[in-house]
Amino acid sequence: MMTVTAARQLRNGAVCFVGIGLPSAACNLARLTHAPDLLLIYESGTVGTRPVVLPLSIGDGELAETATCIVPLPEVFAHYLQRGRVDVGFLGAAQIDRFGNLNSTVIGDYSHPSVRLPGAGGAPEIATYAREVLVIMKQTPRSFVERLDFRTSCGYLGGGGERAASGCPGGGPKAVITDFGVLRPHPDTQELELAALYPGASLAAARAATGWALKVAADLESVPLPEPEVLAALRDLNARTERAHAAPIHITLPLAP
């Protein structure tokens, strides 16, 4: 449901900076269904890639073989993101706050962390430069927090236009897709509000899974069930991927001299 909901946010023709995991699944599902002209850029430098199976890592060979071009890593960030050529960026994180700011660096104090997370990677620049950002995260009280332990990447900073006033070029998080539904920023305060619930998900459970007092949009929507053809495309994609990843690796060594 998260993958299908995320895929629906993508319009055909958009230039999309893709992260690994759910974002990659969502982008490719969109490309295989309603958005065939989505331009996918993975931070490994593969531009315009059309993978037949989903990659496990950000730089699987499948991404290179099906790419329009492969650019060196500094160019991905400088020429595409920093120059403002990316429409949509996807992010996940360990923690998010009510203004869509994200933590993927540490839990606890930076110098003495209780959990050292992988760190920034491309996230701060994606959050800063993409015209819009889509966040995909499971909603729990530990991840949807009143206060971040560390701000790795920006959402709307303190809200109320602070982000734009700081000169930050991108548009910020347009939607946060969770396992309960979709949160969107309030147009004025920019606080994330519950905008849509999945069929069967309860408002009370969504509130209980949020570490701040979650507001609900005036016109709370119900997310439509996935269309049968979209579900079929997703199942095909996942099945192809599982088969490909299960194939054993053989390396042929030259005979010893």
Partner: protein
């Protein structure tokens, strides 16, 4: 450029206490070279790499490193690097100091090093806490022309950069095909470049704009087929995603990790033996 067996190349060029970068973004990660550094028990290294990956988990867990400069330290698509976490969170087997960039910053830091600059410049936006952590490597300044805020990123200049590539030709030129990451920048920034390759050929299969490092910028080349495994070499073998998944369990526990390293890295003579032991080569 000299053609050397990997054991001799590491012995000759990689010394205790050096700043050492093993690059390759998911693709062409020089695992065989990393393992040889572990076998030769290098210590107090300052390891540099954008995405530390499993090879740095192994170097850190085996006590080779005292500092890490990086921009994303996870097992791609899987989760944490448990040895990296253990070193940072609990100081095992020794404490690990961190210098932390974003990918974009680290890419330009290599570019600055490769260009003979002391620093690189990026637009500055006050959006991350990273610039405020103790010992943060970046500084803010103003553009002398427009007055726009800029981030200055100090140049990265490794003592040694180690890379894996597909081919070396008879003259010692080296070809990289596929995802190249910041390999070129890390090489051109370094004082010394070592490359392992899949094979030696008479003539490189290179398009006009292919990434070729000329022999003149390389100190030594070692022929190590499968040298990127469990990472991959485009056109030779794919990434062993199953191994990356399995590593999560191997590295989670200190004893399991140490036993694996003793059996598969310390306990084998070379990379070909490791590949045979793991059943990926006959």
């Amino acid at each position: 450029m000299e053609l050397l067996p990997l054991t001799e190349a590491i012995a000759a060029y990689v010394k205790d206490g050096q700043t050492v970068a093993l690059e390759g973004f998911t693709h062409l990660i020089p695992f065989a070279a990393g393992h040889e550094i572990i076998r030769q028990e290098r210590r107090k290294l300052h390891l540099v790499r954008m995405t530390p990956d499993l090879v740095y988990d192994q170097l850190i867990g085996m006590g080779c490193a005292e500092r890490l400069t990086f921009s994303w330290g996870g097992n791609p698509g899987v989760g944490s690097l448990h040895r990296l976490r253990d070193a940072v969170e609990r100081g095992w087997p020794q404490p690990l100091a961190l210098t932390e960039f974003t990918h974009a910053e680290m890419a330009v830091a290599y570019q600055a090093g490769a260009s003979g600059l002391t620093c690189a410049l990026m637009p500055h936006h006050a959006t991350t806490d990273l610039e405020a952590v103790p010992g943060a490597p970046v500084k803010m300044l103003r553009c002398p022309f427009s007055g726009a805020p800029l981030t200055a990123v100090p140049a990265l200049i490794p003592d040694v950069t180690l890379l894996h590539a597909q081919q070396v030709d008879a003259a010692g030129n080296v070809l990289f095909r596929g995802i190249v990451g910041a390999a070129k920048e890390a090489a051109m920034a370094a004082r010394c470049v070592l490359v392992t390759v899949e094979e030696r050929v008479a003539r490189l299969n290179a398009d006009l704009n292919a990434l070729v490092l000329p022999a003149a910028v390389i100190s030594a080349v070692s022929i190590v087929p499968g040298g990127a495994y469990p990472s991959y070499a485009q056109g030779y073998y794919p990434r062993d995603n199953g191994f990356y998944l399995a590593w999560d369990q191997i590295a989670r526990d200190r004893k399991t990790f140490t036993a694996w390293m003793e059996r598969h890295v310390l306990g084998v003579r070379d990379h070909a033996t490791l590949l045979r032991t793991l059943g990926v080569a006959a």
